[in-house]
Amino acid sequence: MITFGFLINAISLGSLYALISLGLVMIYGVLKMVNFAYGELIMVGGYGLYLVGSKFNLPWIFVAAAAILAAMLVSYLTELVAFRHVREKSLTALLITSFAVSTLLQNGALLIISPRAKAVSLPKIFSSSITFLGITTPARNILTIAITILLLLGLSLLLRRTMLGIALRAASDNFRMTRMLGIPANLVISSAFIISGAIAGVVSLFWVGRTASVTPSIGQGPLLIAFIAIVVGGISSLEGAVVGGFVYGILFSFIGVLLPQTLLDYREAFMFVIVILILLWRPEGLIRVKYAEERVG
């Protein structure tokens, strides 16, 4: 049934998917590479929650901060150790490297921690519900929406008001030219990886929050969602990623209620049909750039 409660649920899922997509498109913007190791950053955040939460007796907010920091750090390290060295080579080399990093991180978690799911302790707010305007909804939904809005505002300020942020956008337009203006390539790319890691860290809180457990392959789901969402939204802009994420999450929720019970197992198949239809209608994605891309010369 489509109720107000359901709508909040759908918007909450859309927010989460928008965040997931934003983290992936940050890297795509500067490197033009889909970072297949992005899902593993979410995994790192999840294990950060598990490890710090189970080994130290800290208030949850510090555990969460540690998880986000871990994802940022690992993201930066993957850039430093792996991507930086193949950046000047071909795009194929970059892509293969991202698969390698993804596999290494997953296997690392498998070997060092455990192939089995680890329980993550979460604060009460993740399991409680709140009632307002006569509707009862999980508090996690409201929290997801609120954090997404805050993060989007923060990121938008960063990208529009700071030199580094403008440089990141400039690099998405034309990376070579930013370097020719004296903007260090390493600074721009490392920043993109760190921001992407931070977003993955925040995502991990909510993603892990849904099942309260973490496994080595937990990042695969969000990676696929982000990949589809940025293609649907329009891969050439951050706005596209956000719109794509929201559209994906909301449509997915609607399919869930509109499909008859017997077809619910095919929810993903129906989702992909809709995605294909959207792409047939707008091959460049929902958000297109507002200027002609072809140039003289």
Binding site: A167, R176, R179, M180, V289, E293
Partner: protein
């Protein structure tokens, strides 16, 4: 100021620049002319540090810049305005100019430079909050030049600034180059518009098939008739 000696650049199996040597002295306006595919842009790309050289040397103010990153070369004082203009289409004019000043880290100087820019390029003040991608070709060219000047380069390198522009706009761009020169900029100009270029340059290098064919003052080049041979075939 800039010394390029026996430069050789290859793209895979194709050698784009075989042997180019050239020199730009402080305060000069040196032009590089030649037909399409002669190796002009490749020479500039090597100077800017965006393509690797096979052999030869490039010195700027006595320091070798071969193998240096584009950002390091800009910091030393060489700003290249590329052939495709390469303004940032999704950034506003203001943000484009701000990026030009990135290497200077000084907001007050940036604001002062901005005032200067508006005197030289009044159209940019009008378009200040517009997206770079929505400007016309001539406006984009002005933005690209203005953006590079924000970095206060010692040497300004312009790659075919008149390419694809209407004749009236070409006039504007050439008079702008003259203005920049009289204000004391050292300029290396690559052009296909030979007559206009010979009118304003101090010295000219004619490149053909990746080699410097002739060099000299514009008058020397005009009298030799070699330009006709190369442009029209012998």
């Amino acid at each position: 100021m800039l010394h390029v000696e026996n430069l050789k650049v290859r793209y895979g199996a194709i050698t784009a620049v075989h042997d180019v040597s050239l020199e730009v002295k402080e305060g000069e306006l040196v032009a590089l002319i030649g037909v399409n595919g002669a190796g002009k842009t490749t020479t500039l790309s090597a100077i800017a540090g965006v393509v690797k050289t096979v052999s030869g040397s490039i010195y700027f103010e006595g320091q070798s810049i071969v193998g240096k990153s584009p950002e390091a070369i800009l910091k030393l004082g060489v700003a290249v305005v590329p052939e495709q203009r390469d303004i940032f289409p999704s950034l506003t004019v203001e943000e484009n100019l701000h990026m030009g000043a990135f290497s200077r880290h000084n907001h007050r100087e940036y604001l002062a430079d901005l005032k200067e820019t508006f005197i030289l390029f009044p159209i940019l003040e009008e378009r200040f909050q517009q997206l770079g991608g929505t400007l016309s070709g001539g406006e984009q060219q002005q933005l690209a030049i203005a953006r590079s000047i924000m970095a206060h380069p010692k040497l300004l390198v312009l790659d075919e600034p008149s390419l694809g522009l209407a004749p009236k706009i070409v006039d504007q761009i050439f008079s702008l180059i003259v203005t920049l020169r009289t204000r004391g900029s050292t300029i290396l100009l690559v052009e296909q518009n030979v007559n206009r270029t010979l009118d304003i340059a101090d010295r000219v290098y004619l490149i053909n098939n990746g080699r410097v064919e002739i060099q000299g003052t514009p008058d020397q080049l005009r009298s030799q008739g070699a330009i006709k041979d190369i442009y029209l075939g012998k």
